[in-house]
């Protein structure tokens, strides 16, 4: 009886016993054979034998599961696999390192102030290797600073309007700048509808892109490429190829002047629509756009946190976190920088700049209430919790994190970067480097 049970087990696997039978007759012989076996089972199997067979089956299954688990664990511990996983998560926008909790508030003396511009700083960029900072101001100059020493490495002076045959430069307010992810090209856009391309290392002028019909208000390079996205007050988004000095295409959709633009490694860019009230994600290969609503005021600044989430700030003081699958913000923080004005006529401070550390949950916002506020994004970007404030007097017109997350650079001015509604005399037009120290990781218990 026990032998018959074992035999049946083997025939179920369809193994050695059927090898000698020819392939043609196999199907025919199996079917009647099975019925015969069933009838045998019906008659001869007792309860104990059945129990025995089932127990053996169960053990077999357990053994298989344990083997699979061991395999999976081995794979996880592999370094290459870990790296690949990270890359996939990054592409999908789900990579998130929680560094916000570890950041310490810097002491006021640690903040380095680099002065050199004569008028308010409007925008700045940090080179991808974290060694230099480019800053542009309302005096139409661009200055390259060294992060370590704080000295000016290069100054691109203002060009006089009209007359030809001069060193190239801007003749009107520079509203935006962008640097490519390999640190080769620097692009800057100004109010006279021009985009100037410079070589970042030597600050030599390379090309000029004309085509926009109004002030250029946003620039961003696509990560890993030399494709440049630009937007302007003429409500269009243009795609350029800097390496080939060519224009690619134009995209339409905004109803009013666009205020800012940002892009990561996908062939997508995101724009802040200003008075339009919309944030739009432009899918360039598909030539379509996704429209998001949620702010009440004019959306002035936007920054991508990872491939799927972004943070924006508006002039009604609200800061919002967005995800690509929901048309409304995932998290909205009103009056992020407080209120000012006479009692009874209080107005929220405008949020003039936002920045986010790539693939983490740390967000910084700046306004003109004499502080830069750092926030932590909650689980799934559904919450925005304030961490601490960094005291900094003036209009924080631009904020950028370094690629490694070691420091935060703030471009400070006496006036707002887009106009002269207020003037803070106590402020100094400067680039401030704020070091972000991390708390040492607590020792693992039991090691």
């Amino acid at each position: 009886m026990v032998d018959s049970a074992r035999d049946r087990g083997k025939s179920k696997g369809g193994g050695k016993m059927n090898e000698e039978i020819s392939s043609d007759s196999e199907s025919e012989s199996l079917a009647p054979r099975k019925t015969e076996e069933e009838e045998e089972e019906e008659l001869e199997e007792t309860a104990q034998e059945k129990k025995l067979r089932l127990a053996k089956l169960y053990l077999e299954q357990l053994r298989q599961q344990e083997e699979e688990k061991a395999e999976a664990r081995a794979f996880e511990e592999d370094q290459v696999a870990g790296r690949l996983k990270e890359d996939v998560l990054e592409q999908r926008g789900r990579l998130q390192k929680s560094v916000a909790k570890e950041i310490q508030a810097p002491a006021p003396t640690d903040i380095r102030v680099l002065r050199g511009h004569q008028l308010s700083i409007t925008c700045l960029v940090v080179t991808p290797d974290d060694l230099a900072i480019f800053s542009a101001a309302k005096d139409c100059t661009i200055i390259k600073w060294s992060v370590e020493s704080g000295r000016k490495l290069h100054v691109i002076p203002r060009a006089k309007k009209g007359t030809q045959g001069q060193p190239p430069g801007h003749s009107s307010h520079i509203l935006c700048m962008a640097i490519s992810s390999d640190g080769k090209y620097l692009a800057s856009g100004d109010r006279s509808k021009l985009i100037l391309i410079w070589e970042a290392q030597s600050c030599q002028h390379l090309y000029t892109f004309t085509g926009h019909r109004d002030a250029v208000s946003g620039l961003a390079f696509r990560r890993g490429t030399h494709q440049l996205y630009s937007t302007s007050h003429d409500r269009s988004v243009k795609v350029w190829n800097v390496a080939e000095n060519s224009y690619v295409e134009t995209l339409f959709g905004h109803q009013d002047a666009v205020a800012a633009l940002d892009a990561l490694s996908r062939e997508c860019c995101v724009t802040a629509g200003g008075r339009d009230g919309t944030v739009r994600v432009w899918k360039i290969p598909e030539e379509s756009q996704l429209v998001f609503y949620g702010h009440q005021g004019s959306i002035d600044c936007i920054h991508l946190i990872n491939e799927e989430h972004m943070v924006s700030g508006a002039d009604d003081g609200s800061v919002a976190l967005w995800g690509l699958s929901k048309k409304r913000p995932l998290a909205l923080q009103r009056e992020a920088h407080g209120l000012h004005g006479e009692p009874g006529l209080e107005q929220p401070f405008w949020v003039s700049s936002v920045a986010a550390l790539l693939n983490t949950d740390l967000v910084a916002t700046g306004s003109h209430n004499a502080r830069v506020r750092l926030w932590q994004c909650g689980e799934g970007f559904r919450q925005l919790d304030p961490l601490f404030d960094i005291p900094l007097v003036g209009f924080i017109n631009s904020l950028k994190f370094s690629s490694a997350g070691d420091f935060l650079v703030a471009g400070v001015g006496q006036e707002h970067r887009l106009g002269r509604w207020w003037r803070i005399k106590e402020a100094r037009n400067s680039v401030c480097i704020i070091p972000l120290r991390r708390l040492p990781a607590p020792p693992v218990a039991g090691s």
Binding site: T35, E38, E39, E41, E42, K50, R53, R235, V237, L251, F252, G253, H254, Q255, D256, R275, D276, V281, W282, K283, I284, E287, S288, Q289, L290, V291, F292, L324, S325, K326, K327, R328
Partner: protein, 241 residues
């Protein structure tokens, strides 16, 4: 059937193997594994439509109403990025105020004087009260601009009242005629309809009777003659002498 019995017993032991046989009474997914007897049974039981359904697969009614996912409502709007935004564009959503004149609106329906008077009967009381008010006001102001204004107002009100009375009388007349006609028709006579000119003559006759009663016939006739004379004089050729 021995086949079904065997399968029932063996199912417990062959949990892993896909069950191709089924119990009698299960709805088959496929006609391929049904015997001829079962096919005939299905046909006789469900009729040709059920048979066709099983043969064709799932019925179309099950496929068409796709459940609308609630999450789709929250997705951002996807639009083409190549369509130029027109010059006259909507930056802020404004709802245009649509002006409606109830006199020319289809929603107000057709004007039916009888129904109108019946539904707005309550206005007569209000009008009477207002007239009383104006009379009282008139007692206060006996001369001057205010007096003139009030006089005119009172006159207007009275004239409106008289016009309403006239309208009412005409309606009653018309109704009476209609009823007469209906009665005659019922009795068996052929229904006859008056011409408009004949109706006007009848109304004129009624008016004469009324005027005679109130003894205003003479003044009315003289005024009428004067007006007609004036009109006729206009049509005469102009004489230079």
């Amino acid at each position: 059937m021995p086949k079904a019995g065997a399968s029932a017993g063996a199912r417990g032991s062959r949990g892993a193997i896909k069950q191709s046989r089924r119990m009698a009474g299960d709805q088959p997914k496929d006609t391929s594994d049904m015997s001829f007897e079962e096919l005939l049974e299905l046909q006789s039981r469900g009729g040709p439509k059920a048979c066709k359904q099983v043969v064709a697969g799932r019925s179309p009614e099950k496929q068409s109403p796709k459940p609308v996912c609630v999450a789709d409502k929250h997705r951002p709007l996807e639009m083409s990025a190549k369509v130029r935004v027109p010059f006259l564009r909507q930056v802020v959503p404004i709802s245009k105020k649509v002006a409606r004149d109830p006199r020319f609106d289809d929603l107000s329906g057709e004007y039916n004087p009888e129904i109108f008077d019946k539904t707005y009967q309550f206005l007569n009381d209000i009008r009477a009260k207002e007239k009383e008010l104006v009379k009282k006001q008139l007692k206060k102001h006996r001369s001057g601009k205010e007096h003139e204004r009030l006089q005119q107002l009172l006159h207007r009100m009275e004239q409106q009242e008289m016009a309403q009375q006239e309208r009412k009388q005409q309606q009653e007349l018309r109704l009476a005629l209609k009823q007469e006609r209906r009665a005659l028709a019922q009795q068996g006579h052929r229904p006859y309809f008056l011409k408009k000119s004949e109706e006007r003559q009848l109304a004129l006759a009624e008016k004469f009777k009324e005027l005679k009663r109130s003894k205003k016939l003479e003044s009315f006739l003289s005024r009428k003659r004067r007006r007609n004379a004036g009109k006729d004089r206009k049509h005469l050729p102009l004489s230079n002498e």
